[in-house]
């Protein structure tokens, strides 16, 4: 019997049963000639088939066979775990989703193609625009994505310490992946840069925690907006050439005044003076700190030491 036929019959037997079946029962039900008559080589082939089905994402459940003592391992696939409950996609919906997944590709992600299960791939009559973005998705990102989706507690090393985290939110922003969640010790809400995780991420059992109604969210505010310094509202005079960017970045509500020659005055909150000085210096002589005086004189002193 061909491997494909054997595998299909194995899946069918596990789906059709109403109770877990032992290895020997499955051997019998998959049909004569499917497996070797030699017990040891049957066991090896069966174990490999089982692992391959699991690797395809088939939800094999392992339960003791009822009435066995000592308990014997039994296998089945519960139709409720196997069958999709998604509404079917119309051809235009499927095409739009497929185009989207081609525009934004998760780099290094395994090529297991979920589109077959959604109804196949339609040859879309669209211009070949190429990918808009390739988002890096290495081993750690894939582990964390599964863990976040399936609510598995993760452990990893970060900044030289072992962390045990309930992952609430995984976000790719500003070119990096960030994880936010509840750290179990010392307890608290925490955010991690995924590229700074040392070594591998180990995920626990599915549904290892309940996602709270107010999950910890990734927050990537500019560095100068959070810190230990006393909160100050800086006023900046922005040269015309930087106005479009600055107004887009801070928002129209930050504009305090517009000058005749095209420059503007904007207001911005500062809680970390060093980070703020660094930000202002990226504009060279195109942005001047008008006040408050302590921020202005801090900049002047910094520059005087460098001239």
């Amino acid at each position: 019997m061909k491997k494909l036929e054997r595998m299909l019959n194995l899946v069918t037997a596990m789906l059709a049963t109403e109770r877990p079946l032992s290895r020997q029962e499955l051997r019998y039900r998959v049909g004569a000639g499917a497996y070797s008559d030699n017990d040891e080589s049957f066991r090896r082939t069966f174990e490999r088939d089982k692992e391959e089905l699991r690797s395809m994402g088939l939800p094999l459940s392992l339960e003791p066979v009822p009435g066995t003592d000592p308990p014997v391992d039994g296998y089945r696939i519960r139709p409720g775990d196997y069958e999709t409950d998604l509404p079917s996609l119309t051809p235009d919906e499927l095409a739009a989703l497929h185009l989207a997944s081609n525009l934004v590709r998760l780099r290094d992600a395994p090529r297991s193609d979920p589109f077959w299960r959604l109804g196949g791939i339609l040859q879309v009559d669209s211009p070949d625009v190429g990918a808009v973005a390739e988002v890096p998705a290495g081993e750690a990102v894939r582990q964390l994505m599964t863990a976040t989706a399936e609510r598995r507690i993760v452990t990893f090393e970060y900044n030289g310490r072992n962390r045990t985290v309930e992952p609430h939110s995984l976000v790719f922003t500003r070119g990096r992946w960030y994880l936010a969640g509840h750290d179990q010790g010392p307890a608290g809400s925490r955010q991690f840069r995924v590229d700074r995780i040392d070594g591998s991420v180990v995920a626990g059992e599915a549904d290892g925690f309940a996602r709270p109604g107010d999950p910890v969210e990734v927050n990537v505010q500019p560095a100068w907006r959070y810190g230990e310094d006393q909160l100050l509202l800086a006023r900046l005079l922005v040269h015309e050439r930087h106005v479009p960017w600055m107004v887009d970045f801070l928002g129209e509500e930050a504009v305090l005044d517009r000058m005749e020659e095209g420059s503007v005055i904007v207001g911005e909150s500062v809680r970390n003076r060093a980070a703020f000085r660094s930000f202002v210096l990226t504009f060279l002589d195109g942005v001047e700190i008008l006040g408050p005086e302590e921020l202005r004189s801090d900049m002047v002193q910094w520059l005087e030491a460098l001239r």
Binding site: E5, D85, G120, F172, E240, D248, V300
Partner: protein, 317 residues
Amino acid sequence: MTILTALERLRRLLAVIPWVVERDGPLIDEIVERFDYRRSELLEDLEHVLFFVGVHPFTPDCLIDVSVAEGRVWIRYADWFRRPMRLGAAETIALYAAGRSVAAITDDDELGPLERALTKLASGMAPGDDRAVEVCLGPDSTHMIDIIRAAVTDRVSVDIDYYSYGRDVAGARLVDPYRFYADKGHWYVTGHCHEAGSQRVFRLDRISRCEPTSLTFDGPDAAEEVVDHIPTDGRLPEVVVELATEARWVVEEYPHSGVEEISGGKVRVCLPVSSPQWLERLLLRLGPTGVVVEAPEGLGIEVRSAAARRILAVYGV
């Protein structure tokens, strides 16, 4: 197409069976196309494999019924496979996140099918999961993105006002936009710049005005090199900077052609200099935490002093 392994065929068959069951004799050709299945392999698998699949004792009433005729296929009595296999939670969430990031840059008029698909995907997710994984490619200034993407597709030249960060000047340019993409949290467009006479990369948040023109252009010149990164092969002048511990972010942030640990947590890094203004910014920001130890004529510490004096003049010092 290479010959598929048993597992790859199983993967496809488990998707093909429910799809066929739901329809009244779909065309073999359509299955070939949708499921990336070679015709001969598909026919072999339907007629010589699936035909023998069922449950014990494999009498005719226990087998899946397959009939192929006139280029069409019917599958009956496949109750175990009447629904497609569920997508894994991580697969669903990854697909949903990718779809949402595209929806964020799609014109409302074209959003319908994608948005409906995303709503259907979300219906299979646990509460709160639809926001658990997000992909933010760049700022959502969709107006500019719409114009640029349309211009790339239609090969229409655009008239832009652009601020060059490297040279710290703003000006108007005529650009033939070739490719639109996101990288490290920013949107970019590469294209032929008529003013420069060669290909350039433009960051969208530095374009303050963008208007399509009545000019169209042919495809990009393949021979023309696109420089969309800072070369570290010695083409640019390089400076060696000694960084204190708190300035080590520079090594992560900028391309370099070599880094060396020295005592006390300090590192020495060799940085290509794309423009004097870039070096000015870096040295001014680093202050005492970054010391130039080696530099070609004109790119030493004097760059920092001159820039500091220029900015101090703005402060009336």
